[in-house]
């Protein structure tokens, strides 16, 4: 390579960016790819075991749906403040971001509570048979995501209250909302598998 004769000046480029401009956004996508694969394989395993079983659900009543439906409802509702938080973040509107983050947090607490009520209503223990094991695994996997994102949002909210604040915090808020969308989206198939398949599948 011969010595440089020309230059490209990047001094005037922005120092942060949302969405596909942000490295952490891509990192989050990678994480989602990994977790979707895990969810997908767990569901495939569920159907594989179902295919081999004579009786499904095995030696158990189908799970009762009340709390699960509530969970689903709250999750879907939580998409709204989630979206609003993201938009506020893109506007660097600190006040709104705080507001909607708090709303999200409240809803996440509610979801975790209803989720806790779900386990007993599965009507089967994880150590009863393979059906129980795989159902508890699926629900457990998703619950882990609820809890981790709750912690994530919690810390983020705290940061927005106390500082230090700069543009990149708002990028984090936007990406946290992306992750929460994944938590919502991944719940739909898992809900269908756990609660609908034993009834109608």
């Amino acid at each position: 390579m011969t010595p440089a004769s020309r230059a490209i000046d990047v001094a005037t480029l922005p120092r942060y960016g949302f969405g596909h401009r942000s490295l952490t956004w891509w990192g989050t996508l990678g994480l989602l790819a990994i977790e979707s694969t895990a969810f997908g394989l767990a569901i495939v395993a569920y159907l594989y075991l179902k295919g081999r079983a004579d009786e499904w659900p095995t030696a158990a009543l189908a799970p009762r749906m009340f709390w699960a439906n509530l969970t689903t409802a709250i999750l879907l509702v939580s998409a709204v403040p989630n979206e609003l938080a993201k938009r506020a973040a893109r506007r660097l509107d600190l006040g709104r971001v705080r507001l909607w983050l708090v709303v999200c947090l409240v809803l996440e607490i509610a979801v975790i509570a209803t989720r806790a009520m779900e386990f007993p209503l599965l009507n089967v223990r994880w150590d009863a048979n393979a059906y129980g094991s795989v159902v508890w695994t699926l629900l457990g996997l998703h619950t882990t995501h609820l809890i981790t994102d709750f912690g994530d949002s919690g810390v983020l909210t705290l940061l927005m209250m106390s500082g230090p604040v700069n543009e990149n915090r708002f990028v984090d808020v936007a990406e946290n909302s992306l992750y929460w969308y994944f938590v919502i989206a991944s719940w739909i198939p898992i809900y269908a598998v756990i609660y609908l398949v034993p009834r109608f599948g």
């Binding site: 120092r15 490295l23 790819a33 694969t37 095995t58 150590d127 009863a128 393979a130």
Partner: protein, 651 residues
């Protein structure tokens, strides 16, 4: 790519450049001292540690192999007793696959991908450091347990029910399953970092069709890791749950199925082979191109072959299960898929031959390894074709024929190019060249020893010797070939010692290397050997596939901050500068987080409560990790927003 004139830009005056380099050296310096050592997040330092560590495990795995070959050298031998032998062959397989082959490829990726794409840093340096410590702790955990007579003893595939709670007493099975989790976490985070680096941090002008083949290889492999490793993590977690909390996922009597384990395991473990092998193929293209003094022939074909292999690699796992009594038709499908993989591999062979044909091949030591790959890997590939045929597979499956095949593929296909590539990159890593004479000797000893070890094993397999037996009766007449194989194994050991000696000597007295001792074409050779902590100053841009061979001068990048760790983020497709990003500074939190996670992993094989209580320190360390140090008080920030200057600019 346009840019203004040198005259117009005082920042390109030699004096200015020298000053910039000085400032950057301060900005990008890593902390010193013991704490500093654990806080280091320089991708080159971490990559080098990754590399050295995985070679240490390679040595350990080799010693285990030598022990096995001593035991098998004679029939009815009593050198090792079966309980220990089972632990040793399990440790050997596990070490080589999880603690050497994959990490070593990732290590080279961590070190060289940013250099080859002209970036100042890897995308998530802290995450990569975390991945490194997870890998080290996993390996230490495995070997400590082995010394405590708790080494896994169910094979690197840990088939249930043998590895399940009913037939594997104690904690040996859990140790294996948890080591998997350690190494997979490590590989996954590194894969994410590599993908993002390759997507978003390429030098201006390095559009996707100008990305070096090795970088393509690492990209494809990182994606394979993303989709393959969750399978085995799920499976091993279920294994631990079956063993610890009494789930029944693999218990046939309660609706579980032992074959579900095999499906999940091989859905990971077959792609795993390509995760190891594809970077090696990419290395081949690099070596052959460099030492044939011409751009590699059929760039597009090579890239497509790598990707095609990756795709098909996910569709062939069942050919490890032909003996489980599958329906005929399904089996034939997987035969076809397995044979299909030969096509992209063949294409690469032909492109390499074309490159040699139309180039000016030089017999340097790396080139020797590349040519050795041709001979050795070809045999492994062809026996692979045989194994894809269901009837033949049913005869030789789980015999020494397969042992021979997989070593021809993994040593011939991966270790040969790897050793060549280490020889090639050694000057960049250390600033000194390895010795050619010793290198040549090491190569030929390896080549002879390797074939002496593994070729006879084909015959042993056909004569009916199964794998994983700790001994065999003299009456079977397998003694001669086994002895030959054991002698060969010792020869391999000798060749490794010679290579090591070469490294040791050259580190001290080796010829000092210039920036580009091989006159190679890719960007890692555009900076000093070894590279400065900031990799490049000024940052290069790229006009074609072989920038260092291109006659026309390329513009350089100016305007990145020298007082903070700024990197350039470019567009995914054609690498047009998008924004400048401030990289996180070095910190010890990733190390502490890795400690916390390791504690939780080890705890959880003894008690499920380990998962609950163990998560608390993990949460704390991760908060410490991600807690920002830059920014203003909220009021101040809001004031800035109001007054309109939010975007902090470079000075």
């Amino acid at each position: 790519m346009r840019g203004q004139d040198l005259a117009a830009d005082p920042r390109l005056e030699p004096a200015a450049l020298a000053r910039e380099a000085r400032l950057l050296a301060e900005t990008w310096a890593q902390p010193r001292g013991i704490v500093g050592w654990f806080s280091n997040t320089d991708h080159k330092t971490i990559g080098l540690r990754f590399l050295v560590t995985s070679f240490v495990f390679f040595a350990l795995g080799g010693v285990l192999a030598a022990l096995m070959r001593i035991q098998l050298a004679r029939p009815d031998a009593h050198f090792l007793w079966p309980d220990l032998y089972d632990q040793i062959f399990t440790m050997h397989g596990t070490t080589m696959m999880f603690l050497f082959a994959v990490p070593v490829m990732l290590a080279l990726g961590i070190y060289f991908v940013p250099l080859m794409i002209g970036a100042r840093d890897i995308a998530f340096p802290r995450l990569v450091a975390f991945g490194y410590y997870m890998f080290v702790f996993g390996g230490i955990f495995l070997y400590v347990m082995f010394l405590l007579n708790t080494g896994p003893d169910n094979g690197w595939f840990s088939y249930v029910p043998l590895a399940g709670p009913a037939f594997s007493a104690g904690k040996r099975g859990d140790v294996w399953a948890q080591l998997i989790t350690f190494t997979e976490v490590s590989a996954l985070v590194v894969a994410v970092a590599l993908i993002v680096t390759i997507f978003k941090m390429r030098a201006p002008g390095m559009s996707l069709n100008r990305v070096p083949i090795f970088v393509w290889g690492m990209l494809v492999v990182s994606f394979m890791i993303l989709f393959a490793m969750p399978a085995v993590m799920l499976a091993s977690s279920w294994l631990i749950m079956d063993r610890l909390v009494g789930t029944h996922v693999f218990n046939k009597a309660q609706g579980g199925d032992p074959l579900l384990w095999q499906h999940l395991f091989w859905f990971f473990a077959h792609p795993e082979v390509y995760i190891i092998f594809l970077p090696a193929q990419a290395m081949m293209s690099t070596l052959i191109s460099t030492f044939s003094r011409r751009p590699v022939f059929g760039y597009l074909a090579l890239v497509l072959s790598l990707s095609a292999t990756a795709f098909i690699g996910f569709g062939v796992w069942v050919h490890h299960m032909f003996a489980t009594g599958l329906p005929q038709l399904g089996a034939s499908f997987f035969t076809a898929a397995s044979l299909m993989i030969v096509v992209p591999t063949g294409v690469q062979f032909f492109c390499w031959i074309a490159t040699l044909w139309s180039g000016r091949p030089q017999f340097t030591v790396p080139m020797l390894y590349a040519l050795g790959f041709f001979a050795v890997f070809l045999i492994g590939g062809l026996t692979g074709v045989m194994l894809a045929a269901v009837p033949l597979n049913q005869q030789v499956h789980d015999t020494f024929f397969v042992v021979a095949h997989l070593h021809y593929v993994l040593i011939g296909g991966a270790v040969f190019p790897l050793l060549g590539m280490v020889f090639y990159w050694f000057p960049k890593l250390t600033g000194r060249l390895l010795d050619n004479g010793i290198g040549t000797v090491a190569f030929w000893t390896l080549f002879v020893g390797f074939n002496l070890t593994f070729f006879p094993q084909h015959i042993l397999g056909l004569e009916g010797m199964p794998r994983r037996v700790y001994t065999y009766p003299a009456a079977m007449g397998w003694g001669g070939l086994n002895l030959m194989s054991s002698i060969g194994a010792m020869t391999i050991g000798v060749s490794m010692l010679i290579y090591l000696y070469n490294v040791a000597v050259s580190l001290r007295r080796g010829e000092v290397a210039a920036a580009n001792p091989w006159e190679a074409s890719t960007l890692e050779w555009a900076t000093a050997s070894p590279p400065p902590p900031f990799n490049f100053s000024p940052m290069p841009t790229v006009g074609d596939r072989d920038p260092l061979w291109s006659p026309d001068p390329q513009p350089v990048v100016v305007g990145l901050a020298t007082d903070k760790r700024e990197v350039l983020v470019t567009q995914l497709m054609d690498a047009v500068p998008e924004l400048a990003r401030k990289q996180p500074h070095p910190t010890i939190w990733p190390f502490l987080a890795a400690v916390a996670v390791s504690v939780m992993f080890v705890w959880s094989i003894f008690s499920p409560w380990g998962v609950i209580y163990g998560s608390i320190p993990i949460a704390i360390t991760f908060i410490g990790w991600f807690w920002p140090t830059d920014g203003k008080r909220p009021q101040a920030f809001e004031h800035d927003v109001a007054s309109g200057h939010v975007q902090e600019r470079a000075v």
